[in-house]
Each structure stands twice: as structure tokens, then as C-alpha cells.
């Protein structure tokens, strides 16, 4: 097991170095750039040249990359071009927002997905099953930004159940400890803020949960159907075991293995979904940061760090999923 972990970590380092070079070169070959983004129509050619020089963009790209890697290795990701804040601080601010949203979405997706998938499989061919199949097809096919705008339009503009955007009400004086607003408000017993944060969280979480929910439902349904036909389930039933034991120990436990893999993959995919969801709901997380850094100020330092971070999260989550196999399926441990 240790060898597997070490091998995967080495793969991770190589992946990150290759990715950093790719991002670096790609960003610097895009038309436009931070100098243009920072300077409005008013800059003189001298100022433009000075800014280019001051930012080091007049140097050959390999020199720029060398300096970049030097700084990265010392843990210095630079400062945001737009605000001048250290990149780590900028990302550190946005990170809890995205994690909070992703966690809420995953709670919705897993909390509803596994029971729904299980029930659909158990009642295969019945109305609930048909409804689930159609619903999940819709969930997978509907573009997330469209769903976001649709939900927002219906629930914030027409029936006013939820706020249109943001993580808490404007001007709310809540204590920020960890950056996870729901958690912070619980820790500080500011329950008004908890309610407010949850109220803001519901629509974005539902929007972001749609695709993983649909995928988890389908995967659970298919997996449970497979397991239901297994000999050991028939044997367990023949032995007269309680249904509860058969469902929990024999069916669900075996059926969950591919579902857990799916959850791992979907957690990584949530990051891409978060870009669109956060944009729609002005969420202020990593997704918003990515789009702003690309389309707004061409914030190279932030963008580079973000893409590396996203790759890191993706690889680590999948490593954890692989490790969780060993936990769920003892055969993996033996092998």
C-alpha cells in the first residue's frame, strides 16, 4: 500500500511540473495580457512599455518560467495582478466558498442519489423507476448555467423564495473564522447568520448537485441491479437472512464500490461545475476566481496557481478513492 501511495505521489509531482510548463506557455501566448487588462485607454506607450518591463514580460519565456519555478519551489505564488494580494491569500479566501458549495452539493447528490438509485433498482419497471430514469437523463443533459439561470429566475425573481446571489445577505455582520460561513456561524452561535448562509446556499447547491445527482442515481441503480442478480444474494435470501441484513451487507455494500468511484470522479468534476454555478450566483469561490482571472484582468499568477491547485485536488481525490477501495473491498487489501 505504501508503495502505491509513493508511486502515486511521484506521478503527481511529474504531472504538476508538466502542467505548470503548459499553463505558463499557453497563458503567455494568448492575445492580450495583464498589461492591456491593467491599462485602460489612457495609458501612454511609455507607461505600457514600463509596465511590461516592470512585470518582467519583456524577458524571454524560458527566463520567465525559470523565475516562476524558483518562486514556486519556495512556496511563493506571487501576488494577484489586479489587487496585489498574495495569491495564496486570494485562493485561501475563495477556497472555503467553493468547498462549502461543493460539500453542500455533494450532500444533496449523495443523500438523494443513493437512496433514489437503490429504490429505482428495487422497483425496477415501476413508476418511480421510469421517473428516475427520465429525471436523471434530464439532469445529465441540462446545461448547468441554463439550469442555474432558470432556478434563479423562478425562485428569486418570480416567487422570491431565495436570494439571487452571494453567500450571505449584504451587510450581514457575521464572524469569519474559517471562511466556511455555515460552520463559522455555528461555532460563534450566530444562528441568524447560519440561517442566512443556508438560505443562500440552497439554490447554488441544488444547481451544482444536478449532474452528480443524476450520475450517482444511474450508477447506483445499475450497480444494485447487477448485485441483485448475484448468486450470493439469492443464497442469502435462501438462507433466510433478514432483508435488512441482505440489503445493507450484501447488496448495498457490494453495489457501492462503483458508486464511490463515481462520487470521487464527480467531486473532481464539481470544480468545473462550480465555475458556471459560481458565475451564475456570484458565489465568490474558486470558480468565480478562475473566470475573473481569465476574462477580466488576465491575472496570470492567480490563474497558474488555481489550475495547479485544481489538478492537485483532482489527483488527490482520486488517490483517496483508490485507497477507499481497500476499505470497502477487503480483496483489494489482500492483493
Amino acid at each position: 500500500m505504501l508503495r502505491v501511495i509513493v508511486r502515486r505521489l511521484l506521478q503527481l509531482v511529474v504531472t504538476l511540473i508538466a502542467l505548470s510548463a503548459l499553463i505558463f506557455i499557453w497563458l503567455r501566448n494568448l492575445p492580450g495580457g495583464p498589461v492591456d487588462a491593467l491599462l485602460g485607454e489612457r495609458a501612454t506607450p511609455e507607461t505600457r512599455a514600463l509596465l511590461t518591463k516592470a512585470l518582467g514580460y519583456d524577458q524571454p519565456i524560458h527566463v520567465q518560467y525559470g523565475k516562476f519555478m524558483q518562486r514556486i519551489l519556495t512556496g511563493d505564488f506571487g501576488n494577484s495582478i489586479r489587487t496585489g494580494d498574495p495569491v495564496i491569500e486570494v485562493i485561501g479566501r475563495a477556497f472555503p466558498a467553493t468547498v462549502e458549495l461543493a460539500l453542500a452539493a455533494m450532500i444533496v447528490a449523495v443523500g438523494l442519489g443513493i437512496p433514489l438509485g437503490y429504490l429505482a433498482a428495487r422497483w425496477r419497471g415501476r413508476a418511480l423507476d421510469h421517473l428516475t430514469v427520465v429525471g436523471t437523463l434530464l439532469g445529465i443533459s441540462i446545461p448547468i448555467f441554463f439550469l442555474g439561470y432558470l432556478l434563479k429566475d423562478v425562485f428569486t425573481q418570480n416567487i422570491h423564495w431565495f436570494p439571487p446571489s452571494g453567500r450571505v445577505g449584504i451587510g450581514l455582520d457575521n464572524t469569519n473564522i474559517t471562511g466556511f460561513f455555515v460552520l463559522d456561524s455555528l461555532l460563534t452561535r450566530e444562528f441568524d447568520a447560519t440561517a442566512d448562509a443556508l438560505w443562500h446556499l440552497i439554490l447554488p447547491a441544488v444547481t451544482l448537485a444536478t449532474i452528480p445527482l443524476a450520475v450517482i442515481v444511474r450508477m447506483t441503480r445499475a450497480s444494485v441491479l447487477d448485485v441483485l442478480n448475484e448468486d450470493y444474494v439469492r443464497t442469502a435470501e435462501a438462507k433466510g437472512l433478514r432483508h435488512r441484513t441482505i440489503r445493507g451487507r450484501h447488496i448495498l455494500r457490494n453495489a457501492l464500490l462503483p458508486v464511490v468511484t463515481t462520487i470521487g470522479l464527480q467531486t473532481g468534476a464539481l470544480l468545473s461545475g462550480a465555475v458556471l454555478t459560481e458565475k451564475v450566483y456570484n458565489w465568490g469561490g474558486l470558480g468565480t476566481l478562475i473566470t475573473d482571472s481569465i476574462t477580466g484582468s488576465r491575472d496570470y499568477p492567480v490563474l497558474q496557481a488555481l489550475i495547479l491547485l485544481a489538478a492537485l485536488v483532482f489527483v488527490v481525490v482520486n488517490l483517496l478513492v483508490d485507497l477507499s477501495y481497500a476499505f470497502i473491498d477487503p480483496r483489494v487489501r489482500v492483493r
Binding site: G32, L50, Q64, G78, T83, R167, G171, V280, T295
Partner: protein
């Protein structure tokens, strides 16, 4: 088993209902308030982007200026709702005959937010600070200073000239005397630039304001710029919660002018235009800026106040004379005659837009009513093209489809209509859409790859040099790099004319020649950008310079 499931479902529903209900109650309480506009309360305005920081001198964009304008004052300012100059921190000002020595009589009894006195020494400290700023990182971020004064004590930029600034002397507490190396037409208007706001010398020193450090390919600004901006304005800095995207400013009870009517001003940063509109409709913000032209009517019908700013901008069709065919004045005139600008204004212009005959608004000194006008005349356009031997002309027309600017709310539609007009007189148009920051500014302003392009300008202050001087006062890739020296010379001369009558005449002649002799661009329209507030808001005075101060605003409680 069934019972347990049911209990779980009920528990989930209860938590959700609690969250919705509690927040809903909070909302109801907010909604339940009604009544007269009075002092107190909070005014919430939706900003479209993060400010860079709050040190005026290092900023040059509207999103940074919006909070800065509430916290800082300038020596000279604009009468609310106009581009007309009036006293700010200086009650009066005058210059000597040479136009080089400016004497400011300062307002007495004014204090900075940190309690230190505003006086002539503070004014001179600010001017000296700007002039003596060191380091490429700092100088590269002083766009307006550079544009106005042209240089530093020690220039970091190659090719930068000698500074117009010479010295500043505090004759007494109430009199600051500024000496320039030469007269510049930008003054006194440029003294009203937000970038040239006066900050507390004590705070500048205490919070190390001049330190702009370069870290790799980015800059870090001082504690003054980020956490302790100290000016004399109607609001004091309350904080910038970057996690929430909220800037909070508090009423300055000691403000020298009209004290703010609200206790608190929040600028909530909402980058998505649609979301800004939805928050306005939800009543969670009181105001938004620059609504899309298509939304204006709907918002007005819904009871929002859609306030048009007096137009102080210009949209133009730029012509790049690097293309030899476009060097021929007859071809440029043909382009001007081919455009049905009246129809464009009527179909695609924001409410209140009007056709532009000159490259600056008619409220600016030097506007000449008798310039050559180009009424829509496709036949004449065809004839001029024939005379110039340019009947089979093909032109690359660059436009930025992804942005809205106050003067250009719908670039794609504007391009389509202008291109159709040109095609109608036999000019083949290749439309080249380029993202604003993904090639448009580079290709047009740095490399001059285009033949035609649409672009514009919102005035910073009321001076012809800020419009035509900015565009045509020097060689630019945007209009062709060849030396149009007679145009540059005429503009330099007009800008350097000290006496008011002579200055007016010189700029009028520049405008006449721009229309008839040089025609480097065809003026298209002046478009009033709007600001929208809820019906609960009173007292907002829209500024042609987008220089709104929120101290006059009250919100019905």
C-alpha cells in the same frame, strides 16, 4: 422502518424550512420598512468589479474610483451633475500670465479622517510625493499622473519626458502655490482628477504608501492602499471584506461639505450584469450602473429610476491611414458620407443619444458649431470612392464583441449596422471581432492591424485636450503611424495657449480641420450612460463624468 424514513424526511424538510423561514423573516422585516426618506440607514450600490486598491494615485479605473471618490476630495471638483469646475478643497484658484504658477486658496478647518489638519503643507506633500515617486512598479501604476504631468523627478520609463511639475510651496496654511515648467491646457480641469485626490500625509507616511513592491510578475500595494486610505471625503473607510466582496464606508460626521445622509455605504461587488439586475429587482441593492440598453425600458416600467447622465463621451469610427488607400482624404470622407448615423442612433442608441459631428461633446470649450458635417449621402460616398479610384475597396473592421463601455453599450450591433452602410456603397467589409482584452486593444492600439475600428472615450474633465488631444495629439498606431505633423502641431499649440479666447479659437480651428482636412476618425454618437436606483432612493445626482458622490443620497427607511 417506514417510520424512520418518514422522520428523516421530516427532519430534512424542517431544517430547510427553518433556514428559508428564518431568512425569509429577516427579509420580511426589511421589506416591511417604509416611509419618508430621512437620514440614516444604508445605501447599497452594486459594483461590477473589484477595485484595485484605494490609493487614488495608483488607480485609473471606474470600479476603483467609485469608493475612492467617497473618501477623498480633490482641490478642484465639478458642480454636481455637470462637468463645470467648482471649488473642492481649494475655494479658489488662479494662474499667472504665463500659466505656469497656480495659486490655490484652500478651505479652512478641513480635517482628514485621521484628525490631522488639511492645509497647504498637505497639498504640497501630495504633489511632491507623486513627482518623487520611485521605482518602476509605482510609476507604471500612475497612469493619470503620467498623462497629466508627463514625467517624474527620475523617470523609470524610457522615452518619458521632463515633468510639467516643478515645485509646490506652502505660502501659509491656506495658500498653496504650484509652479509648473510650462503651461498645460489640461489645468485646472486635471486638478479635478480622482487620481490627484489629496490624502493625509500622516497616513501616507504611517502606512508606507509609496511602497509598491514587485513580486514576480505582479505588484503588492501598501497598507495605506489596502487597509487605511485616509482622505477628507464624506465617507470614511470601514473595511473591504474580500470574501464577501463588500466595501463598507461609514458616514464622516466631520465632513466639511454636505454631510452624508446615510450612515453607511456598502459597495457590493457583483460581476455578472444579469445578477446585478436581479439583486436590484430583489431589493437587496439600491443601485446599479450602466444597464444594458435593452433593459432600460423594462426597468423604468417596473418603477426603477433610470437616470441618464448628460453625455460626456464620444463613440467614433477610427480610420487607420497605414492602409495607403485610406490616406486619401476622399476615401475617408466617402466612409463618413456612407454612414447613416441618425438611423443608428434611433435604432441602437441608448435613450438620449445623439449623432456626433465632432470628436468631443458640445459642452467642451472649443466646440465649433460650423465644422464640415457629413450627412448620410451614399451617392456622394460612391462618387468620392470613384474619384479616388477606390471602388473595390476591402477593409478589415475590428470591433470588441465582448464588452460594453459607457459610450459603446452594444459593439456587435453597432458594427453590424455600420458595416452594412459601408457595404451599401460598395466597400467590402471583413468583420474582425476580437475580445477587448484578448486582442482588440493590442491589435488596434499597439500593432495597428486594422483598417477601421470602433472605440470611444469618456471625458475625465472638461478640456478639449482630454478628448481630441488624447486621440490625435501624437502619432498612434490606432490611426496610422505616419507623421500627421500638422495635426499634432496644431493640437500642441492649442493646448499651450494660455489666454481663454485664444485657446477657444485655437481648439475651434482644430475641430474644423479635424472634420474637413484630417478626418482621422468619424464621430458617431454621444451616448448618455445611465445609472439605475430603486424608487426608495432620493438625492442621487448623476454626473456626466460618472463622478457620483453618494453623500447626497438618502434611502427611505
Amino acid at each position: 422502518m417506514q417510520g424512520r424514513r418518514l422522520r428523516t424526511a421530516v427532519a430534512i424538510a424542517a431544517v430547510t424550512a427553518l433556514a428559508v423561514g428564518a431568512a425569509g423573516c429577516a427579509e420580511s422585516e426589511r421589506d416591511g420598512d417604509s416611509g419618508e426618506a430621512k437620514t440614516g440607514g444604508t445605501f447599497i450600490f452594486a459594483g461590477a468589479g473589484d477595485p484595485k486598491n484605494f490609493d487614488p494615485i495608483f488607480n485609473d479605473d471606474g470600479e476603483s474610483f467609485r469608493p475612492i471618490r467617497q473618501m477623498f476630495d480633490t482641490l478642484v471638483t465639478h458642480k454636481p451633475g455637470t462637468a463645470e469646475l467648482t471649488g473642492g478643497l481649494a475655494e479658489s484658484w488662479e494662474h499667472d500670465e504665463s500659466g505656469k504658477v497656480w495659486t490655490f486658496k484652500l478651505r479652512q478647518g478641513v480635517k482628514f479622517h485621521d484628525g490631522t489638519p488639511f492645509n497647504a503643507a498637505a497639498v504640497c506633500y501630495n504633489f511632491d510625493r507623486w513627482y518623487n515617486m520611485k521605482g518602476a512598479a509605482a510609476q507604471a501604476n500612475m497612469i493619470y499622473y503620467m498623462d497629466t504631468f508627463g514625467g517624474f523627478a527620475k523617470n523609470e520609463a524610457e522615452g518619458a519626458g521632463e515633468s510639467v511639475y516643478n515645485k509646490c510651496e506652502a505660502k501659509d496654511d491656506g495658500t498653496a502655490v504650484l509652479t509648473l515648467n510650462k503651461y498645460k491646457g489640461a489645468f485646472p480641469g486635471a486638478f479635478a482628477l480622482t487620481s490627484l485626490s489629496i490624502a493625509s500625509p500622516e497616513a501616507l507616511k504611517k502606512y508606507d504608501a509609496d511602497t509598491v513592491t514587485q513580486n514576480g510578475d505582479s505588484f503588492a500595494y501598501s497598507a495605506f492602499a489596502n487597509e487605511h486610505p485616509v482622505g477628507t471625503g464624506p465617507f470614511t473607510f470601514g473595511g473591504w471584506d474580500k470574501a464577501k466582496g463588500e466595501i463598507t464606508l461609514n458616514r464622516n460626521p466631520d465632513y466639511w461639505g454636505d454631510k452624508a445622509k446615510v450612515d453607511k455605504l456598502i459597495i457590493k461587488i457583483i460581476k455578472d450584469e444579469n445578477t446585478r439586475k436581479q439583486e436590484l429587482r430583489a431589493g437587496t441593492v439600491h443601485g446599479i450602473d450602466f444597464p444594458a440598453p435593452a433593459d432600460r425600458k423594462a426597468l423604468a416600467d417596473e418603477g426603477f429610476q433610470v437616470i441618464d447622465r448628460p453625455a460626456f463621451n464620444i463613440l467614433y469610427l477610427g480610420i487607420n491611414q497605414k492602409n495607403p488607400k485610406l490616406k486619401d482624404l476622399r476615401v475617408r470622407q466617402a466612409i463618413a458620407y456612407a454612414l447613416n448615423r441618425q438611423q443608428l442612433v434611433q435604432t441602437k442608441g441608448p435613450g438620449g443619444a445623439k449623432v456626433a459631428d465632432e470628436l468631443m461633446p458640445d459642452t467642451v470649450l472649443g466646440y465649433a458649431p460650423d465644422v464640415q458635417k457629413y450627412e448620410y449621402n451614399p451617392e456622394k460616398a460612391k462618387q468620392l470612392l470613384k474619384e479616388a479610384g477606390a471602388e473595390n475597396l476591402t477593409l478589415n473592421f475590428y470591433y470588441p464583441p465582448d464588452v460594453t463601455r459607457p459610450y459603446m453599450p452594444n459593439p456587435q450591433e453597432i458594427f453590424t449596422i455600420l458595416a452594412n452602410d459601408l457595404q451599401a456603397v460598395g466597400i467590402k467589409v471583413n468583420g474582425v471581432p476580437r475580445p477587448w482584452n484578448g486582442g482588440f486593444k493590442d491589435d488596434v492600439q499597439t500593432f495597428g492591424k486594422h483598417d477601421l475600428h470602433i472605440l470611444g472615450w469618456t471625458g475625465d474633465y472638461n478640456d478639449p485636450g482630454n478628448f481630441v488631444g488624447t486621440f490625435f495629439g501624437r502619432a498612434k498606431a490606432e490611426f496610422g503611424d505616419q507623421a500627421m505633423t500638422d495635426m499634432f502641431d496644431a493640437i500642441t499649440k492649442a493646448d499651450g495657449t494660455v489666454d481663454e479666447a485664444g485657446k477657444k479659437a485655437a481648439w475651434e480651428q482644430v475641430n474644423r480641420d479635424l472634420a474637413s482636412k484630417w478626418l482621422p476618425a468619424v464621430p458617431v454618437w454621444h451616448a448618455p450612460p445611465a445609472i439605475v436606483v430603486t424608487k426608495d432612493v432620493d438625492g442621487l445626482v448623476a454626473s456626466p463624468l460618472t463622478d457620483e458622490r453618494f453623500n447626497t443620497v438618502s434611502v427611505k427607511q
